[in-house]
């Protein structure tokens, strides 16, 4: 019996030792399994986006695409709070205030008027949230920053250079339509880019020996009421648009007049060419948004906007709508065409882009 009792104790002890060893093994494997190196996700960032109307949605698409390339996936580690004024300029400031109240990590202005609204509300409410400009014209002239490279403000982003390209647009218009000598310049006299563009256009016109008909537009309604008379009376050979928020908003009406009066329109954005302009020279809205994304990522990583110089848009492109050329019956010079990307109504805008 004693022998049996001793054997049982020995057996129990052996079981305990084996059990202990198993626990160690399991603990080792569990901790090994548990600790898998993972990419540090970090806290979820919030981007507050303010846009004046749907025509800026391409910028938003480019912005999201660019941030995705930087590793920020919507709904995963980044959230977008979008306020869209739907072309109603009066509600931009209240929308900006609402956006700021949500305390996003970064505010994104998809245009100049949006930037003005965000800056004004932040100053009024004495709050400090970085603002990233996703393609704004005349950033220095309109007082957003003092200097592109060195500035002390909490604003950075992309200057789309569209104002400075106003003269280039006139030149390219003549490269496409070399016989053009009388051009109607439509501009918004109440915004800096409008006036700055006019100066540049006037200088270029003088250089190129072009006669300019200046047509300041202060309200969208005037385009439908006054512009037809101007076009009817002034023998305009082409229309040159300058950077303007509400000109972009009234694009459809303008292009309809263009067709009606057989007057080609040289526009600013690729998007406008798709909608009915004869040609456009500038940086696509999509690219502007995309180019702003790395700057937002830098702010997420802790840099202050004053440490990030403003950048100029890179991908300037001449787009020509072949359908419009056909409808207007225009004879386009091969010189101009050699530089242009031809599009037609069936042409896709590309990944993520919205017509």
């Amino acid at each position: 019996m004693i022998f049996l009792s001793n054997n049982r104790k020995l057996f129990t002890s052996l079981i305990a030792v084996v059990f202990g060893a198993l626990i160690i093994l399991v603990a080792f494997l569990l901790t090994n399994w548990w600790y898998q190196p993972q990419r540090e996700a970090g806290p979820v960032k919030t981007v507050g986006v303010l846009l004046a109307g749907d025509m800026k949605l391409n910028k938003l698409a480019g912005l999201k695409e660019g941030l995705e390339e930087q590793g920020y996936l919507s709904g995963v580690n980044i959230n977008y709070v979008v306020q869209n004024a739907k072309n109603n300029g009066k509600i931009l400031n209240p929308l900006a205030s609402e956006l700021i109240a949500k305390r996003p990590d970064v505010l994104v202005a998809l245009g100049g008027v949006e930037a003005d609204a965000l800056r004004d509300i932040l100053t009024l409410e004495q709050k400090e949230i970085p603002i990233v400009l996703a393609g704004v014209a005349s950033t220095v002239k309109r007082g957003l920053v003092d200097n592109l490279q060195e500035h002390e403000s909490n604003i950075t982003g992309i200057d789309n250079y569209h104002t400075q390209l106003a003269g280039k647009r006139l030149e390219l218009l003549t490269k496409l339509l070399p016989d053009t000598r009388r051009v109607l310049v439509i501009y918004d006299p109440e915004v800096i880019p409008g006036l700055q563009s006019l100066d540049i256009i006037e200088n270029t016109a003088a250089l190129l020996d072009i006669e300019l008909i200046k047509y300041p537009v202060v309200a969208k309604d005037l385009i439908m009421t006054e512009l037809p008379q101007v076009l009817a009376n002034q023998e305009v050979e082409a229309i040159l648009l300058s950077s303007s928020y509400f000109l972009e908003a009234a694009a459809d009406e303008l292009f309809q007049l263009s067709l009606d009066f057989k007057v080609p329109v040289m526009a600013v954005n690729e998007h406008e060419a798709y909608r009915g302009a004869f040609a456009a020279y500038g940086v696509s809205l999509y690219e502007q948004g995309r180019q702003a994304a790395p700057l937002i990522a830098k702010i997420f990583l802790g840099q202050h906007p004053s440490q990030i110089p403003l950048e100029l848009s890179d991908k300037i492109e001449l787009v020509v709508n072949m359908d419009v050329i056909k409808r207007l019956g225009l004879q386009v010079s091969p010189v101009g065409l050699s530089y242009a990307r031809a599009i037609s109504e069936g042409t896709s805008l590309g990944k993520g882009k919205i017509k």
Partner: protein, 727 residues
């Protein structure tokens, strides 16, 4: 016994041992592994960065070459582009501007370096331009220096020679303004993380993955890799990982490579913090494993530690209980392992210890009885006269509780100095019994006499006792001896007195008889003669003288009777005496004296005091004498206390006063006849002698205790009725 601190307990030691043995090997392996991995990783990153940087440099070179080649190929399609129509030239230039993203501007220059056609992405340029930089017509493609536009973008002019193929001569130059941003951004980034940048031959930053650095014109020449590039150090010379603090003070691992045709350099820098992420992950992993392992080992160590150490702790606890004196405690441990056997042996040892302790206790009790029963005080004394032990008898005599550190002469001797002579010191080294020493010590207010004997011991160590002192209380013997001496003395005095009294009584009786006879005869003659007056006067004078003689003879007779009383030679008529009643009668007799001296009398007479056999007259005389002495010793307002009580077969009368008391030197003489401290003529000195005689005659005892200035106490013991007869 105090409980052990936790770190000394076997349970925790087993636990700590388990932890250390499980963690240390893992930790050591981990550290070695991490160290090796660190070194390997650094080398691996360096190799990877070197490969990447070479690739990027090559890529930049190829991208520029590719752009230039594209331009060259396009222009080579024409026999002489300068001779083509302006439209055609513009078409070519605009086509290239459109196709090659990096071209910012192009100008077609004729032989005299004048622009004949120009295109630009951003500017509306005048046609006429003479490029002053071109002194000669370039014979082959040349790269200009890098420069920056107003908005900070880096640009480089490339001059491509144009040929008239028919005449095989230089016809002009194509000046191409390249935007470097596009070129550098098109290159493949560093695969291993980090960032790369491009510097020109002056160390200017002309390209960076973070283009903001270029726009800010960040100075990167503090980077060690840039410095090596500028010093034209070959990357092949750098074999060890290049670790340094770069332009933004970050510790980086760097690598560099020159861009062969452009005299530029490419630098890859990877922050050590990012590069070593795998190492940190390894450390975290190791710590996690160690943590998991530690918890497991703690659990197992606790389980096995308790299992292994519980019997030992039980044994330790049991040992403490037994050590505290509980020999009945037996330790219970299950199992049959070594510890169980040890516990069993320990229990057996405890039983044995208990048995022997009991025997020892019995022997000790016996010894204690012997030592205590001897009625002798015993003390063990160290060499420095410090008491190390005293038996119960000695402690009882001297009221000793704690003898630690006490000197024998302070406790047992007569003062604070060594006894003279000190028996121990005198007999040092002598093992024989020393001589005696008698000391008188006041113990609890009572004077005691002790006889000391000292025996030298042979201590085994210097700390052990060196002497045994035996102390005997000889107070009773001393008193007995004194009483015997006193009795003998008084007996001798009594014998002398009675002899004298007898011898004097007869002549006195004769003198008295003759004097009486003469008085009677003279009285008769005086009556008979009735003679002259003068004769009558003479007879009366003679009778008066004779009366004086008889008076003085009577007085002498009184003295002789007193002497006979002292010597117990008087005749006694014994009868039952109620001492309480006798005392009260005597108090009445002396009432006047007490009042006169304003003495407070306190009596405490036992109600059922036995009747004694005695002579009331003599006993009253005794009481009278003692009380008179007290009154004389008291000043006004003094106090006398009289107490009677039965004490075994005796009746005790105690008379105590708080008077002047008797000096010690007189105490031995107070019963001597004619000894008095009173003024001459006020006392005969026979009062107490008579008392002594009367009490002794009644087989009683009389004792006087007195202290000068405090009072006197007289105790009379008389045999209760039926237990005495007249001697």
């Amino acid at each position: 016994m105090n409980s052990l601190p936790w770190w000394r307990k076997i349970r925790y030691r087993v636990l700590i041992f388990g932890l250390l043995m499980s963690i240390f090997p893992l930790l050591a392996l981990g550290i070695v592994n991490i160290n090796n991995t660190w070194t390997d990783l650094e080398r691996s990153i360096h190799r990877q960065n070197m490969a990447s940087v070479r690739w990027i440099a090559k890529d930049i070179d190829q991208l520029i070459n590719s752009s230039i080649t594209k331009i060259e190929l396009t222009t080579s399609a024409f026999a002489d582009l300068t001779k083509e129509t302006k439209t055609q030239q513009e078409i070519v230039l605009f086509s290239l501007l459109k196709e090659v993203d990096e071209i910012e501007e192009m100008a077609l220059l004729n032989k005299s370096n004048s622009a004949i056609s120009r295109v630009s992405k951003r500017e509306v340029l005048p046609l006429a331009e003479n490029d002053s930089n071109l002194d000669l017509l370039v014979q082959k493609t040349q790269y200009g220096s890098v420069y920056f536009t107003k908005d900070g973008r880096p640009m480089m002019n490339v001059f491509i020679p144009l040929w008239n193929k028919q005449e095989n001569e230089r016809s002009g130059t194509l000046k191409v303004k390249l935007s470097l941003r596009g070129i550098i951004q098109k290159t493949v980034g560093a695969e291993s993380g980090g960032y790369y940048f491009v510097v020109d031959s002056q160390g200017n930053l002309i390209g960076h993955q973070d283009f903001s650095q270029v726009l800010k014109s960040t100075q990167v020449t503090t980077s060690e890799a840039v410095r090596k590039l500028l010093a034209q150090v070959s990357p092949l010379e750098v074999t060890a990982p290049l670790k340094y603090k770069t332009y933004d003070n970050t510790l980086v691992l760097g690598a560099f490579a020159p861009v062969s045709n452009l005299n530029w350099g490419v630098v890859i820098e990877q922050p050590v913090k990012e590069a070593m992420v795998p190492i940190y992950q390894l450390v975290y992993k190791l710590l996690a494993v160690m943590g998991g392992l530690m918890f497991t080992v703690i659990g197992l160590s606790i389980y096995f530690g308790l299992r292994f150490t519980k019997p030992i702790e039980k044994l330790e606890a049991g040992t403490r209980i037994i050590a505290s004196g509980n020999l009945d405690h037996l330790i219970a441990v299950k199992g049959d392992g070594e510890v169980a056997k040890l516990v069993e042996a320990f229990n057996n040892m405890t039983r044995e210890l208990k048995l022997k302790s009991q025997n020892l206790l019995k022997e000790k009790e016996l010894l204690d009885k012997v030592v205590s029963g001897a009625g002798v005080g015993m003390a063990l004394i160290k060499d420095d006269c410090t008491l190390s032990w005293a038996n119960a008898q000695l402690r009882s005599w001297f009221g000793l509780r704690d003898i630690a550190g006490q000197k024998c002469f302070q406790v047992l001797g007569e003062g604070n100095n060594y006894c003279q002579p000190c028996l121990a010191r005198k007999k040092q080294g002598d093992t024989e019994i020393s001589g005696d020493m008698i000391t008188s010590v006041l113990v609890k207010g009572e004077k005691k006499y002790f006889r000391h004997q000292v025996f030298a011991l042979n201590p085994s160590s210097p700390d052990d006792p060196r002497y045994l002192e035996l102390i005997e209380d000889i107070t009773a013997r001393r008193e007995m001896e004194a009483m015997v001496i006193q009795a003998d003395k008084l007996a001798a005095v009594g014998l002398l007195a009675s002899g004298v009294a007898h011898e004097i009584n007869n002549p006195l009786a004769t003198i008295n008889a003759y004097a009486q006879d003469l008085i009677e005869r003279l009285q008769e003659q005086k009556d008979n003669i009735g003679g002259a007056e003068q004769d009558q006067v003479q007879v009366n004078e003679i009778i008066a003288d004779l009366n004086t003689i008889t008076e003085q003879v009577g007085r002498c007779g009184q003295i002789t009777r007193s002497l006979l009383n002292f010597s117990r030679q008087s005749d006694w008529k014994l009868e039952p005496v109620d001492l309480n009643k006798l005392i009260q009668e005597t108090i009445k007799l002396l009432g006047y004296r007490f009042k006169k001296s304003n003495i407070q009398l306190l009596t405490s007479l036992e109600a059922k005091l036995p009747i004694i056999n005695g002579s009331p007259i003599h006993l009253q005389q005794v009481l009278f004498n003692i009380l008179i002495n007290s009154v004389d010793a008291l000043e006004a307002g003094g106090q006398i206390e009289i107490t009677t009580r039965k004490k075994l077969h005796w009746v005790e009368v105690m008379i105590r006063d708080n008077g002047s008391g008797i000096k010690e030197e007189y105490l031995a003489k107070i019963f001597d006849p004619f000894f008095t401290t009173k003024p001459i003529g006020k006392g005969t000195g026979l009062g107490l002698s008579i008392c002594y005689g009367i009490i002794s005659n009644l087989k009683g005892e009389i004792k006087v205790d007195s202290e000068a200035g405090k009072g006197t106490k007289v105790i009379i013991l008389l045999p209760a009725n039926g237990e005495t007869d007249v001697r």
